[in-house]
Amino acid sequence: MDAPTDEDLIEATLKGDGEGFATLVHRYKRKVFRLAANFARDRFELDDVCQDVFLKAYENLGKFRNDAPFEHWLTRIAVNTCYDLLRKRQRDCERVPLEDGPSSPADRHAEDALSAQEAREWLDRALSRLKPEDRLVITLFELEEKTVHEVARLTGWSEGNVKVRLFRARKALKGMLGVDDG
């Protein structure tokens, strides 16, 4: 027997079938976890963010229109939830000092010497110093490998706005790398 489509599962959930939603969660949780892991600081925060994403999806399932795939709709919710997390963190003035992290690649003069894990850790710390909007855009573009058009669609911002934010984020990161931008 064929696996039920997303539309079938949504319809079943709206009729009160809890199993239908559980199947949807099982189907898409990895994607949501991977996206949210770019922004969460630990596994507890990651779990909270992912629960928020699926809770919002569950509560708004009746508003889902079939004009776009469920996966796109869910990714939009995930992006918005991650953006809310970054903004909340900024309001609480939580910033990780770059010096507290692994040694800067700028000090080493050779990124080749870095392991992938070290590069990731350094970038995580560097990205945490950016504005929430800039961090969101550059993470989606560089780490999630979305196009400018896709980032614009996911965030609801114009493509021009996305390009400007990308430029700003890269400039700030280059500054942190110790590269003279002039």
Binding site: A37, R43, D47, Q51, L114, A116, R170, L177
Partner: protein
Amino acid sequence: MDDRGEERLDRLFAMARGARPDTGSAEHGFETRLAARIASEREERARAFAWIWRLVPVFSMIVLFLCLYSIFSAPPAPADLGAALINGCEESMLVDVLTGATGG
């Protein structure tokens, strides 16, 4: 210099893409935790709704009291020309005043 910076940044991002965090252990049992959260949110909402229903008689009594108070404490309607003109809707009273039919 700027090209070198771009190159270094691109290299860093490329390396970081190769070290995606493993979320497998965090995903374990997620459906159960989510189901518990949905149930607790639903319970909380039902409790709030029950409280609103419990407060309906209190609000009804307040509204009733305000209605009765406004009815019984309203001043009597004025019967002079100025008030009639200001109110603008007492046409018959105005005609009476102008023709001398009332007010002696």
